[in-house]
Symmetry: C2
Subunit: 139 residues, 2 copies
């Protein structure tokens, strides 16, 4: 079970520590994106500061990505294997925020359509976030 987390850390040339493994396991078993606070609760044996630094490290290596939200919270989710092996984030899927259950989901199968920017603008990254009611809450 720890095999996958250790593989990810090694691939990203990060030293293997118990907090990094724990936080990775949390992401691997999560079905939704997580806020810093969610992780704090699920990894309460570790210091808040360690979690801040670990998330930043994972972002730098393309292990996780952020999802912008309309409230003031950032959500984090695992990147695809592809990001992890290439060492930087380059996903292209839409994110969904459920107004009822509050969950944030990566819609891996919905890709962001291309847009044309006005002349003079150069695009580096694009984010698309949809609010609404998720499948589970609709039932």
């Amino acid at each position: 079970m720890g095999a996958q987390t250790e593989f990810i850390l090694k691939t990203s040339s990060l030293s293997i520590t118990s907090s990094r493994k724990k936080i990775l396991e949390i992401f691997l078993s999560a079905s939704t994106a997580l806020a810093h606070q969610d992780i704090e609760k699920l990894a309460e044996q570790y210091d808040r500061v360690t979690i801040y630094r670990t998330l930043q490290t994972f972002l730098d290596r393309g292990i996780i990505h952020t999802i912008p939200t309309t409230d003031n919270t950032i959500k984090y989710a695992l990147c695809s294997d592809d990001c992890i092996t290439s060492g930087h984030h380059h996903d292209n899927h839409v994110h969904f925020l459920c107004d009822q259950c509050g969950r944030t989901l990566c819609l891996d199968d919905v890709s962001i359509p291309a847009i044309t920017l006005p002349k003079g603008y150069s695009m580096k990254e694009i984010n698309m976030v949809v609010n609404g009611i998720c499948k589970t809450c609709m039932e």
Copy 2:
């Protein structure tokens, strides 16, 4: 000069106060979206709490809208006249975040393309945010 701000406040059935006029003037003369902190600096005669409450009021009335960003900051920008008269926000344009100058721009002429969500999801709102280099910084 205060005519336009007073008109907006009256249209939204808000009482006319000096802080509301000042904050509206700031938005009207701004070419970019503003963070809470930007407004604090430009309206330093008013209490921080008043600015929080005023922004919330303006959001409720569809006078301004928020722009989600990849860092943990919310930017605010004026809505179109259409939102103001109808009393709720319903813009549909792309937002641009310049990685160089840090400015956040409403690309009023670039509309968000439609997407198809997986079965069972219901869409209420959609946001599209592009990072890159803006026109001014490219020159």
